[in-house]
């Protein structure tokens, strides 16, 4: 063969030398479970929809979101976002404002009138959903999407359950609530309001339903026996909030005491302030650290002038005077009486001591097991009674709207498997993408964008929404703070850092693959992957 001037040897390419044979370990692309997704009670693919939002593809993000949860605008306001508590970015600067982005997407969808996908399937199965709160509505939504006919009944005059009758309008404006509920109903859900189901078995037989989902909530405020004079006004907080929601608030007077330490206590106190109470005092028997209410809500309440009486119980209520006993926490953290008393002037006492479920409709459903006032369910959300499922506040779990939405979805899949005679598939979860698996060097430093809050003075007197939304710019910024834990976002790092050019870039959306003819198994790609989407596994010889 002819060679150029001064060249005496023909060289071949080094690609003949397959250095892949040096390898003892090989890299492997994986998808790990982001902690936000893991923590979401509604089972949202948060990292997935943030990924779409990062590119400004908001409709795609919203569509991905509503696969799991039909209420982003509601959730973006009232969810206590365990996703943000779990967020890995907490260890870098501050959690991603997932809740705020969710709200932004939800509001954008309402603004643009994006509708949920049309149901095309019809299985001919009929499902009765009792209770139109978050669990019932979520179940109705998912059941419709699975092609089942749904009849949704509720004893109240309007849909929404506790989202309407428990959560005050300053946290969840009724326009938003109505719009997102209407979107679900528009999928073809038969609705019957003002209808109390008294006997679930009879109702099921009469309507020839294939299955029932009980989402009756926990509507009854717990009472304790507090000695009170005849003129003393004692109301339970659940009824109080319900009456306010119906536009018929009771007269409380200027000084209102709320007894309890949960979110309902805070809602009641903040609502009382808005109705004109100059003093809204929460009496709680333990301290701040042991308070079950969410910290964010407490901060907002304090900011609005609600005051706290820690380590106090109500002994009696007489003639506008509340007698409180001071408590002390013992070594186990339980409050113990000290025998010391103090007084507090009050015109009304609201009891926010927890809620019970009215399960009288189960009287003929003898196989349903009820423990501690709540219905026991299996993983499919089915009770002991064949074809009767339950969820939301009526079953043992955290009593939040998001948990209820998650129950609705799980129950819908359980019901689907039951009525179709199929096995309920449980998809194994990916390994958790913990902080140690990330290489956070690569992420730009970026503090969180806080949502604006109404000025305190304004919010004390009206029911206008307290927490504002993000602008588009802020929402995009916030979405882009996502570390994409455990899921490749095509940053090209593995492709760039491979000393052996053994990573093949497959193009936008298609990610990468390894060229094992040449990969020596050095592991740099694993170490330098920002989001922990590559792992090393031993080479099989």
């Amino acid at each position: 063969m002819e060679t150029p001037f001064a060249i005496t040897l023909n060289a071949g390419t080094s690609r003949a030398n397959h250095t892949g044979s040096w390898r003892t370990e090989r890299p492997l692309y994986v998808d790990r479970l982001p902690p936000c997704n893991n923590a979401c009670p509604a089972g949202e693919d948060i990292q997935g929809w943030l990924y779409e939002a990062e590119s400004g593809n908001y409709e795609a993000a919203w569509r991905k979101l509503v696969v799991d949860n039909p209420f982003p605008a509601i959730m973006g306001r009232i969810c206590f976002h365990p996703c943000e508590t779990a967020c890995n970015r907490v260890q870098v600067d501050d959690a991603v404002g997932i809740n705020a982005v969710e709200r932004f997407l939800g509001d954008l969808a309402l603004e643009h009138g994006w509708s949920l996908p049309v149901v095309t399937l019809d299985t001919g199965k009929r499902i009765l959903v009792v209770g139109a709160g978050p669990a019932g509505l979520s179940a109705a939504y998912h059941l419709r999407r699975l092609g089942h006919q749904v009849r949704l009944v509720d004893s109240a005059e309007q849909l929404g359950g506790m989202m309407r009758y428990g959560i005050p309008a300053y946290r969840l404006p009724r326009v938003t609530l109505d719009a997102e509920i209407a979107r679900v109903v528009d999928l073809g859900v038969e609705v019957e309001l003002g209808h109390a189901v008294l006997d679930v078995e009879a109702e099921r037989r009469a309507g020839n339903f294939d299955a029932v989902f009980l989402a009756v909530g926990a509507q009854i405020g717990k009472r304790v026996d507090i000695p009170a004079g005849d003129s003393s006004k004692v109301i339970d907080a659940v009824s109080f909030l319900h009456q306010v929601a119906e536009g018929d608030p009771p007269l409380l007077g200027r000084r209102v005491a709320v007894y309890g330490g949960g979110d309902t206590a805070l809602d009641a106190a903040r609502t009382a302030r808005r109705l004109g109470a100059t003093d809204a005092v929460i009496v709680y028997r333990r301290n701040r650290e042991r308070m079950p209410a969410h910290g964010e809500e407490l901060e907002q309440a304090l900011g609005e002038g609600v005051t706290m009486r820690w380590l106090s119980t109500v002994d009696r209520f007489e003639g506008g005077r509340l007698v409180l006993e001071t408590m002390r926490l013992n070594e186990q953290g339980f409050p113990e009486p000290t025998g010391e008393f103090e007084e507090l002037d009050a015109d009304a006492l609201l009891l926010a001591l927890g809620q019970d479920t009215d399960l009288s409709l189960l009287k003929t459903a003898s196989d349903v097991v009820v423990n501690d006032g709540v219905v026991q369910v299996q993983a499919s959300m089915m009770t002991g009674e064949d074809g009767v499922f339950a969820g939301g506040d009526a079953v043992p779990a955290d009593r939040t709207a998001t948990v209820a939405v998650g129950h609705g979805k799980r129950a819908a899949h359980g019901i689907d498997a039951y009525v179709m005679g199929t096995a309920l598939e449980s998809v194994p979860k990916h390994e958790l993408a913990t902080f140690e698996k990330l290489n956070t060097w690569y992420y730009s430093d970026a503090p969180r964008t806080e949502r604006p809050e109404l000025e305190r003075i304004r919010r004390q007197t009206n029911f206008e929404e307290v927490v504002g939304g993000l602008t588009e710019e802020n929402a995009l910024f916030e979405a882009r703070r996502c570390l994409s834990c455990g899921n490749c976002f095509e940053c090209d790092n593995c492709f760039g850092v491979c000393p052996d050019n053994a990573v093949i870039k497959l193009g936008p959306g298609l990610r990468y693959e390894f060229d094992f003819d040449f990969c020596k198994g050095c592991g740099i790609c694993v170490k330098e992957c920002p989001c922990g989407a590559i792992t090393m596994v031993p080479e099989i010889i």
């Binding site: 040897l9 023909n10 060289a11 071949g12 390419t13 080094s14 690609r15 003949a16 030398n17 397959h18 250095t19 040096w22 990062e54 590119s55 060097w441 690569y442 992420y443 730009s444 430093d445 970026a446 910024f477 882009r480 703070r481 996502c482 994409s484 976002f489 095509e490 940053c491 090209d492 790092n493 492709f495 760039g496 850092v497 000393p499 052996d500 050019n501 053994a502 870039k505 193009g507 936008p508 060229d515 003819d517 040449f518 020596k520 198994g521 050095c522 592991g523 740099i524 694993v526 170490k527 330098e528 920002p530």
Partner: protein, 342 residues
């Protein structure tokens, strides 16, 4: 003063690519059409920093010159692992002569191109630290002094790694090599010796001198691009960790290079005509231990009979670098300097 808003792109300009950035703001390395100047199948060790540095620099130079590039190579790892007969990993015009004469050969190539009227063809010479600071130093100094139109790139892995990890004029103090054993009261390489070649190059008043590491690709590519805009003698000094000689895990190569910069032990800067024009500030200031502990060549400073006194002397060197180049700015801890602005 109105400040331009920083638009935020998740990984900004730290990662190799970024799907949220325009193509022109991404690196050469993020492109599937990059030259891959040095091809797969080369015999560099697992996790070799030098081959990575060479591909980064040459691919960037290829883009900057539209592929009109000749690379001259000194003897060393890079030459040995890329060209065992009958194979070559080079996909660019490449030649090798001797250990010590790469700068002179490159000068000759540049002269030949000029004579042939091929002014568009640019010349890069490359060598390891041995070929640069020791064996090729006379030729290199001459090339600088004559201001020959060559970009000389030194891939600094701080020793003669190919021949069995012997000390070079670029080996840092306290490091163990085959010729600076970790024994006696002053184990490892002695303090106060060796050459700081970027500063020696600056003393020649050549148009461009810069340092870089394989940990900051954007910075490295930018420097190569800047160098190719300039004619005359240019010098680029790239820190390339060596898993074999440094006794580090093969997957730590980039991490270690990053720590070299973040501790201040390896200052990253650029200079034109003898004056420093820019420095890469430290983003997260890190004590030198973090860097040293990952390398077995410093193992004698830790373990059962640790030498905190020697570690402290190394920290002093880092601190001096930080003071000399101003590596810690008010914005340290922030990424403002390297954030993409629009």
């Amino acid at each position: 003063m109105t400040r331009q808003p920083v638009r935020f792109y998740q990984v900004g300009s730290f990662a190799v690519g970024n799907r949220l950035l325009n193509d022109e703001d991404r690196t050469v390395q993020s492109s599937p059409n990059r030259t891959n100047s040095i091809d797969s199948g080369h015999r560099a060790c697992q996790g070799c920093g030098e081959v990575l540095g060479a591909r980064y620099a040459l691919d960037a130079a290829m883009r900057a010159t539209n592929g009109q590039l000749v690379a001259v190579n000194a003897t060393g790892c890079l030459e040995v692992f890329s060209t065992p007969y009958p194979e070559t990993s080079w996909r660019i015009a490449w030649l090798h002569s001797l250990f010590g004469n790469a700068p002179a050969v490159a000068t000759g190539v540049a002269a030949a191109m000029r004579v042939k009227g091929k002014s568009e063809v640019r010349v890069v010479a490359q060598a390891g630290d041995g070929g640069t600071v020791d064996i090729g130093f006379g030729c290199l100094s001459g090339m600088f002094e004559r201001n020959d139109d060559v970009l000389f790139i030194c891939y600094d892995n701080e020793g003669y790694m190919n021949t069995g990890v012997q000390r070079s004029g670029a080996t840092p103090p306290a490091a163990r090599t085959a010729t600076t054993v970790a024994a006696g009261p002053e184990p490892g390489n002695v303090f106060g010796q060796g050459k700081d070649l970027p500063r020696i190059a600056m003393a020649h008043d050549i148009p461009y001198v810069a340092t870089a590491t394989v940990a900051d690709l954007h910075d490295l590519e930018q420097k190569v691009e800047r160098a190719m805009e300039i004619h005359g003698a240019r010098y680029l000094h790239v820190l390339v960790p060596c898993p074999l000689g440094w006794g580090s895990a093969s997957d730590e190569t980039i991490h270690i290079a990053r720590l070299a910069k973040e501790t201040g032990l390896f200052p990253v800067f650029a200079a034109e005509h003898g004056r420093v024009t820019s420095v890469s500030p430290i983003r997260h200031r890190t004590p030198v231990e973090e860097y040293l502990k990952l390398q077995r060549r410093y193992a004698h400073l830790f373990g059962s009979s640790p030498r905190p006194d020697i570690v402290a002397r190394l920290q002093e060197i880092a601190d001096e670098n930080i003071a000399r180049y101003g590596l810690v700015t008010e914005e340290a801890g922030e990424s403002v300097a390297s954030e993409v602005r629009t």
